[in-house]
Symmetry: C2
Subunit: 260 residues, 2 copies
DNA sequence: TCATAAATGATTGACTTCAATCATATCCAA
DNA sequence: TTGGATATGATTGAAGTCAATCATTTATGA
């Protein structure tokens, strides 16, 4: 029997809420919870999936909550070859007892996963990258510090004055930073707030390593992060000749290549 | 053909890694990723499930990642009747443009969900409760600030000196706080670091509301949070006579009852 | 070295999920 | 008020999932 449109919408909202709260629900529980037949529950799931509000699985569904996280991890899987090499080279620099800063972005995520594999003792990890916390929270014997700041809706990162101020009070042995582009004039990033935080971190770090794969070469972004003279270490799958061809000359010892 | 034990363990570790990265995977993809038959994949899933390292679903499996979150949300669902009332009463105090602090714990989660339903304009939410961020990140027009601090593994909350320092720099209109127990001598909480942060928040807040349901009455915890004279507002499903019977007398106007 | 235990893949049958179809009831707009 | 559109539940057959069983292969320990 047909039912008013707003009732359908309300039920579907409730369904997404339920999935958001519970993470995963099998069809049978959805029917019970919503008081509808399986056929209707499936129809709701189809509708919501085509609006990208949930993710269907065989036998049930996942809340968008999971979708955001998996999409983030999905993004990570793409540049895997290059990013994996960069992450391994970066993680090899980390020694027991160090205080390590990890930037926003998927490269930092790859480094964190690498650290989980080969975990040095008494590590302190400092970051504002919320996507890392699920990974890092379960590291035994490691200490994780979040700088704080304002939550950026789309990206899962904290920025702003609070973040800059907190960074200025830290001691950092090794900072892994990323950027959106590199040209002959230096490094580029998308947002002024990200760059402000990166500057604050660089000022407090004994060593700053920028991690950029070859897809960033020749690209710019709205904001200029800094000239090459300010870069202490560049970890990349690019070679010195490739960089020189793009007009980038580095001081010797600056480039840390990835061996894959 | 039998295979060495360490190979099996390695594959199962890899399986949990995969699920942690992807959130959900159907059996077919698991077989492909791991290079084993369905039968073996299922056996691995059974083994890992009995060790509580993953969650099986019909047709696939979820990473423990989801399990932690759902368990948190599961916990929330239990005290629902009381907590829901408290959350509604609390959310009713929030007016447009306010800066609101939300504490650790499931009560704050309930308040955040309530705020999502009826969202005042230009809200600023300040918190160290990471479990809230997924909920709050999607609130349109609201600003979310995280204080920062050290990540506590079990609880998804940030504490320590960084948190206290950051709290001291905030302006807060309304703070919603919780505690683990209440007796005639005042409020109790489990950890010194939590209490230090709560004190710092109370010092900066125009109004501090403690949210405790009746299950907390008469219970103590390792650390004393403060005497009743310091409590500005108590939101609870308890009545004044019930409190008096437990030896607790409040200044008039302190108790904000829940009407369910 | 040998016997036992363990891991694997294939197969089977019971059970579940799913999309499509259909009849029915009710809404919504003309 | 009326006719078409739409939501719903039941049914059905195809496809998928799952646990149990069995034969085979190989690690492991005595």
């Amino acid at each position: 029997m047909r039912v008013p449109r707003h009732v359908v919408e309300a039920r579907r909202s409730r369904l997404t809420e339920l999935l958001l709260e519970r993470g995963y629900l099998p069809i049978s529980e959805l029917c019970e919870e919503l008081g509808v037949s399986e056929a209707t529950a499936r129809r709701d799931l189809s509708a919501l999936e085509s609006e990208d509000r949930i993710t269907r699985t065989y036998g049930g569904a996942l809340g968008e909550f999971n979708a955001t996280f998996t999409s983030f991890r999905e993004r990570l899987r793409h540049g895997t070859e290059a990013k994996g090499g960069i992450a391994r080279a970066a993680a090899a620099l980390v020694k027991p007892g160090m205080k390590v800063y990890l930037d926003a972005g998927t490269t930092a995520f790859a480094i964190a996963q690498e650290l989980r594999r080969h975990l040095p003792e008494r590590l302190t990890i400092i970051t504002n990258n919320l996507a890392l916390l699920e990974t890092l929270g379960s590291l035994p014997g490691a200490k994780t510090i979040v700088l704080g700041g304002q939550l950026l809706e789309r990206q899962s990162v904290l920025l702003g004055n609070e973040a800059v101020k907190a960074a200025a009070a830290q001691e950092i042995d090794l900072a892994f930073l990323s950027a959106q582009g590199m040209t002959d004039t230096g490094l580029w990033n998308s947002q002024r707030d990200i760059i402000r935080l990166q500057h604050a971190v660089m000022k407090r770090a004994c060593r700053s390593c920028f991690c950029l794969d070859r897809s960033k070469l020749g690209r710019t972004a709205p904001e200029h992060l800094g000239a090459w003279t300010k870069v202490g270490t560049l970890i990349s799958d690019l070679s010195l000749p490739e960089l020189r061809q793009a007009g980038i000359t580095l001081k010797p010892g600056t480039l840390l290549p990835t061996h894959s």
